[in-house]
Symmetry: C2
Subunit: 510 residues, 2 copies
């Protein structure tokens, strides 16, 4: 494990160079376009003031976690029962100790990612109970599906992170699946990953496995695992979540703090009201990490959504949350915290036009809002309930396009091409000119899945739609997959840990 | 026709109120979100300087139009044969007389649109020789298809404009189809429309028909018809186009000036080089309108595209043109001209995931770049070669979503909902609270085509994908279509004009 650290220095320098490059295959993206700021500073201040009022007047409940309540008392908050109220400005002050940017280390140091600042990291979707593919339709996810998605993510040059609970492996007991999931991430991927959060003990198991991989000392000083914790909106932090959040913070690992607000259900039906609530809930959660361990990394998360006013069903990939995400981005930057926001969302049950329309709108909102860690970059269908094999491939392809988008545009004399016009002259084509020859190989992003052929050629090849092509590609990728090398001693130690943890413990299924 | 003008005053005031509202059904959108500016002023100035150098050193050819060459000589440009070179700054000076914003009048004054400034107008796609639907596949467009698409546009509350050559009616002779197209726009829609540009005479016929509808005096003082003219890139203006451009300008009608640049073919392979070229070509075309008639309305147009480096095929809806469009928007605003830019583009041959992924990316670029007149908002598949009935419906649905997107977010005490949190309290839902009851009917955009139902309900209803639902919807819309009322005298006069123009003229098919 000392070796991991020795390699880290050299390979981190390589990564530092690599991530500044162009094209896919970089460990993460350094954005070269500005964020899209939709609100004036005056209106941002109004939102902050409204959140401060909610925190001071209504407050937040912290249930089933006396330690959290003690932290708040010590910090000077007003605690009555489980209700905690905060003086305006208090949480902002606490949050000053959280880093604005940090590295999450991968077991392959060349794949470590920077989270925060201008950095962008794409991670697969998280948390679906179901999986889907064109051949077998919808079914409950299994550990085999889970492992397949890790393999597909690892094989994609367009993603940067192995993710966490890519789908629920419902064939493994609830109290043991975190062990199999973390093991799969470590064995099948050499990218950074996320641990479990469904119980404090499972969070600690996840972190312990990271210690086996990286060494306990290294883990104490470096972020190597993330835990995604959800607020029980509106205005409730459940003890299961705050205990897990504190477990990650205590170990100096980053919690991702995420309210999931369906406007009109778990929050106000107005976009502005949802943002106020999200800001209040996330600030409180992020601040709690700092009370557990000052300086621990934490990610300011967000998940706004809307609802169909005809059916009452949740809707995703709609315009209001897209606008709202961009406002959340502005608020996170004013807090100087790394941001997780938006992702690729849809209610469609197929990898069809609806799925990609909604997915692209919500994913571009994640890009424009300045999100640093984009959980849910690839795979969701069915209103977050299903991971789709085909949608995963289509979304990963979109992530490839977004590399080029985030690279923006270079302006220099060669790119401006004034001499090329003189060389080619009016009415002639640029195919063979020296400027084209010099640049054509790197000029444009090239999709793996889009069909750009003429109609006749596409028809002659079988008239496949994008979903069908994606179906072929995920099968090809799984067939070609090779696991990245893993130190034999580490592997044995991990299996030993998992075996000991499982031994003699009855399966629990809820 | 006098009546049209009397009505105009009252209904224009209604429209003035209506367009400030929320939701679809407005005559056009007044954007409430900022533009997304990706480049610094310093880099914009470098692009402008490069365009100035291309205009001064390489210049532009104006072929087969001696009048255009005379205009340039009189204006002080350097004319050698058909090559025209421009001193830096000369075109900008000429362009100062073009209006930054103007109204295009509709025959129903409540549907007149403002073009320029913060206004956004969605218009159907333009120019495909083929049409497609799920039942009959791809085939050449006919006048029946053309009329169908006008009906579908007119029926959609999400579009604002009737468009122009929505598809080529290939069953009508080339030298006569402009008459049938303009007649169809006037008879089947009461929205603004575009005329023909394929020959000077056809442009003049189109404008003459507008005079029959609106009155010659009104047309001389107001914009009632647009003509979309393309540059023969690189750096060539063809006489057919400049004669049409001048015909529109002479009649005080707005030309839309559009270079269509496939990077690496008709322009440099670099994004920056394509933008330089586009700026140079468009400035020259727009300036020519001002030499023909000072103060004539004109729209600064743009169409950047990329190419697949594997196959050499053109690609659409890719990231580089999306970024490029946003730069073009910045440049157009520095010229203070109304902008047409980007639209809904794809190379997909089906209304599938690829189509909507590419379409949404390019359409959002049109929104973010500040485009005022978004030609090609709905219908394209197949690399611009086909109009698809299903894609038209899906794209129009996206246009509906973009109404909500462009409305941005309102920040006031009621929207911020601080009191609602006090009313509901932690852990309770917002379903029935007074804030939700007050706002739920207008809170969220509701798609006509997206399926937000639970999986089981969707499956029980037949598991239709978005394309299939769109197939049903366009048939329903056509069946329900009712033509807007048209004055009998105007109708007769138009038919009389068309009959006279066609009489005794042999059909030409090229």
């Amino acid at each position: 494990m000392g070796e991991v650290r020795v390699r880290a220095g050299r390979q981190a320098r390589q990564a530092e160079r690599a991530h500044k490059g162009q094209g896919v295959g970089r460990p993460y993206i350094l954005r070269n376009i500005p964020t899209y700021d939709v609100l004036s500073e005056e209106n941002l201040i109004r939102i902050e003031a409204a959140a401060d009022r909610v925190l001071a007047e209504t407050g937040i409940e912290f249930r089933d976690d006396p330690v959290a309540l003690d932290h708040w008392k010590t910090a000077g908050a007003k605690v009555e029962g489980v209700r905690v109220r905060f003086e305006p400005g208090m949480l902002r002050e606490i949050l000053k100790s959280a880093p604005s940017e940090f590295t999450q280390h991968a077991r392959n140091p060349a794949k470590s990612v920077r989270i925060g600042g201008r950095n962008v990291v794409f991670s697969p979707a998280y948390g679906s109970p179901f999986v889907m593919d064109l051949d077998r339709g919808r079914r409950f996810g299994t550990i085999e599906d889970f492992r397949n998605f890790i393999k597909l993510a690892q094989s994609s040059p367009n993603l940067h992170h192995s993710g966490g609970t890519i789908c629920e492996p419902t064939d493994v007991a609830v109290n043991k699946r975190h062990l199999d999931m973390v093991l799969a991430h470590i064995e099948l991927s050499d990218r950074p990953f996320m641990g479990s959060v469904t119980a404090e003990e499972r969070s600690e198991d996840s972190i312990e496995m990271a210690r086996i991989l990286f060494g306990a000392g290294f883990v104490n000083d470096h972020c190597v695992i993330l835990g995604n914790v959800n607020v029980n909106s509106p205005l409730v932090w459940d003890g299961t979540m705050t205990r897990s959040l504190r477990a990650y913070a205590r170990a100096n690992q980053a919690a991702v703090v995420v309210p999931f607000i369906l406007g009109g259900a778990m929050g106000p039906v107005t976009n502005a009201g949802g943002i106020v609530q999200s800001l209040a809930e996330t600030m409180a959660g992020c601040a709690l990490t700092q009370l557990e361990r000052k300086g621990a990394p934490v990610i300011f998360g967000n998940f706004l959504s809307s609802m169909s006013l005809r059916s009452g069903s949740p809707t995703f990939g709609t315009p209001e949350p897209a606008i709202g995400s961009q406002v959340i981005g502005q608020l996170a930057r004013r807090l100087n915290l790394p941001l997780r926001c938006s992702g690729n969302f849809t209610t469609s049950k197929l990898p069809d036009g609806q799925a990609m329309m909604e997915g692209t709108m919500s994913m571009l909102a994640a890009i424009h809002c300045g999100a640093n860690f984009i959980l849910h970059s690839a795979g969701f269908l069915d209103g977050l309930l299903s991971m789709s094999y085909e949608k995963f491939m289509l979304d990963a392809d979109l992530c490839g396009a977004l590399h080029a988008y985030l690279d923006g545009i270079r302006i220099d004399d060669d790119q401006l091409a004034v001499e090329a016009f003189a060389e080619v002259g009016p009415g002639n084509h640029f195919f063979g000119c020296s400027h084209t020859m010099r640049h054509y190989q790197t000029a444009f992003w090239d999709s793996e899945l889009s069909d750009n052929e003429p109609f006749e050629k596409w028809e002659a090849a079988g008239s496949a739609d994008a979903a069908r092509r994606a179906n072929r590609l995920w099968k090809k990728r799984l067939a070609e997959y090779e696991a990245p090398p893993l130190d034999v001693g580490v592997r044995e130690a991990l299996h030993d840990f998992v075996g000991r943890k499982k031994a003699g413990v009855a399966d629990a299924w809820y």
